[in-house]
Symmetry: D2
Subunit: 241 residues, 4 copies
Amino acid sequence: MILLVHDDREYLRAPGEELQTDLGVLTVPEDVEPGDRLETHLGTEFVVREPRGPDLFDHFERTGAPMMPRDVGLIVGFTGAAADDRILDAGTGTGVLAAYLGRIGAAVHTYERDPDFADVARENMRLAGVEDAVDVHTGDVTDELDALADGPGFDVLTLDTEDASTVVRRAPDLVVSGGFVVVYSPFIEGSRDAVAAAEETGLTDVTTYETIQRSMQFDDRGSRPDTRGVGHTGYLTVARR
Amino acid sequence: MILLVHDDREYLRAPGEELQTDLGVLTVPEDVEPGDRLETHLGTEFVVREPRGPDLFDHFERTGAPMMPRDVGLIVGFTGAAADDRILDAGTGTGVLAAYLGRIGAAVHTYERDPDFADVARENMRLAGVEDAVDVHTGDVTDELDALADGPGFDVLTLDTEDASTVVRRAPDLVVSGGFVVVYSPFIEGSRDAVAAAEETGLTDVTTYETIQRSMQFDDRGSRPDTRGVGHTGYLTVARR
Amino acid sequence: MILLVHDDREYLRAPGEELQTDLGVLTVPEDVEPGDRLETHLGTEFVVREPRGPDLFDHFERTGAPMMPRDVGLIVGFTGAAADDRILDAGTGTGVLAAYLGRIGAAVHTYERDPDFADVARENMRLAGVEDAVDVHTGDVTDELDALADGPGFDVLTLDTEDASTVVRRAPDLVVSGGFVVVYSPFIEGSRDAVAAAEETGLTDVTTYETIQRSMQFDDRGSRPDTRGVGHTGYLTVARR
Amino acid sequence: MILLVHDDREYLRAPGEELQTDLGVLTVPEDVEPGDRLETHLGTEFVVREPRGPDLFDHFERTGAPMMPRDVGLIVGFTGAAADDRILDAGTGTGVLAAYLGRIGAAVHTYERDPDFADVARENMRLAGVEDAVDVHTGDVTDELDALADGPGFDVLTLDTEDASTVVRRAPDLVVSGGFVVVYSPFIEGSRDAVAAAEETGLTDVTTYETIQRSMQFDDRGSRPDTRGVGHTGYLTVARR
């Protein structure tokens, strides 16, 4: 998939597909390359881009509020998620985290209970070009814990589910020594539960982080944080086996 | 390199190397594997771990304050840095960012002006096992901009230097369409300069982010943010070509 | 002045004045008391309240963005502004800060350059019932510094003007030993200037505070900071003579 | 009481009392005035200051962590606490909030369960010169609610106690129409309870605020928030009758 960009307008298309907008019609060549410039029949030029992580956040079909790039990034920073890691993820949701992890070369197994959401997530992985790296399983990861515990350990376990604590309690069976567990929770109670579960089960370095992020305004009058403010997304609880 | 861990004690060693501490002496076998348990001659057991991103922050030899995992992560989140990306980085410093980027499969060219610091960074890349992915160049990236502009474009440009704006102004020659530029600056003035340079040169989506992060305290009395507080690290200015 | 309140509807009226709304008509008795309940000719009941500080923020006629109750409060907290203090304030603007200071029993001299704004501020002081405590001077405080320096010292000097630093440099002539100077500045550059002026002129305990405030959300799902975020208002630079 | 100040050294003394330090000995004249300069027998000069709010925080004898000036100030800002207000406060603790409220001319009834703490608080009120304005009652305010409800209403109710919610539930009997209730709670659970109690009992405009405050660093290299960070103090839950 490539991204066709003209000013603020962006469209995701596969080679061979057609773009039809009020700016005109064009067909994406089969041999399209990032950096190419394509013109509609009305003469409007689109630049071809390879979609990157933040584009996935913008262009994925959503089945709920997707995780924001900043939180995805923090998970990568805190866990050191890297190429060739084996990562267990639940629940998939829109799949932004899973796709980012696939893009950095990890082998991701992600679980989504809702079959329709799982279908959308699979399509999103295809859009992101990570369908080989990310295996979207339809089902509840808590039903699979015994089977997963019998397999090779995961380097990282990422959880964005309401019953994250249930999975955290099995982390010693699921995660390799030195591997990381992260729970994303919008609510303080969910974070508190995750911390309790992590400590009970003997995980170390258990910390819940809250992140407040603001953009800055620079103009002729001076420099200041944005007067609009940035809201809360979720707490990240990180623990290590 | 592997990490030998006993409680809060951690040592980085290569296969074949010896560990000598007050807990006893052991020699790391040549065929050591993560998860192995090694015993010193005094009977103290060490667990063998593969070092991950956050371990690099803890164990790298430092030539200044290294970038924190949270900021490294945010850069990955905001740029979508991924496997097979070509990334231009300056200045290297301790090399935590470069090593993380190498670990996610990117090909990194990083510039460090101070020859001694560059040597330390090269050794740190070896510790991290990313010496093939990360090329530490001794020199000032601003002297190399013409040469770099003639080469294939970079997907991401990351700058942690005082004269970042000089490089930002050349970003259109250095970075592919849709690629990202990030400037890490401890100071608001540096961020303001970076924004001005990015806007002058026609980059888009120019935003400076400030991140405030706190850990939470959970105990029998209740839940609250840490009373100790977390300080400022740096502003991240992100722009896109 | 009293406040007539019915659900979310609030009207400020003097005794003897009439209220005409779609909820009906009523005349405020001359002997009205807080807690009274008045009925319109259509039978709608209004409760009578004495206006308090936060009501002034809501009901004052505005001549610009008024200072928020939280920032007014922080100024009181940092300076210990108290009854019988003599306070010099510039520029008045809408007058929320001046009115709060008048309400805590201080004698306030406040300067507003714009004659129309000064008129509005005077009317606002009347609404707040502090017209005796707060003297709204039309004019630029920087033109009055010599005269003010000859008078008895002020306990607190509060500045919300673009050229605050000019006044800060005269603080040793204006403020009693142990008295406080506060500069409210939306921009970092203004705060930096104020700090430089305060340090040059020998003030002590010079600190610029930035305040980030969020409301919390409590519902059946759990507890979390508001997802909407709260924006930046202004930096407070505090110094002591 | 006056404050004797020499550089960073500060001593609180009454007229007629003696100061004995390594800087020498002096006796405070009975007719001492703020601004006077007094000399020890060794020739060291002390400046005489009237203590202000922030001095109380520094010089009160502590019976626990006192409320910080910023939180005291926010309470004044959010409630519009003013001269001639009747204020009900519990628990007193060190008494910083009560003394500030006394200093702005309010009549404060404050309750402290611990008799020894109440004695210290009474002495602190004397130090602050507000012993007439602030009545420190020894006892649990929850035992006095019926009696207090029978008296004239309070304009403001401030609570820094573990069972604040019990008192909040009686707020409609204790507080005048338009009056404010504030609960200071270090923990999210306490804030959540306070909000539930306030909403159950029909109070309006119920909001819990979290405040994050940082100081700024200005030096030759630039401007930035303090790298040390400022920790959490407490949540403020504000509601109105």
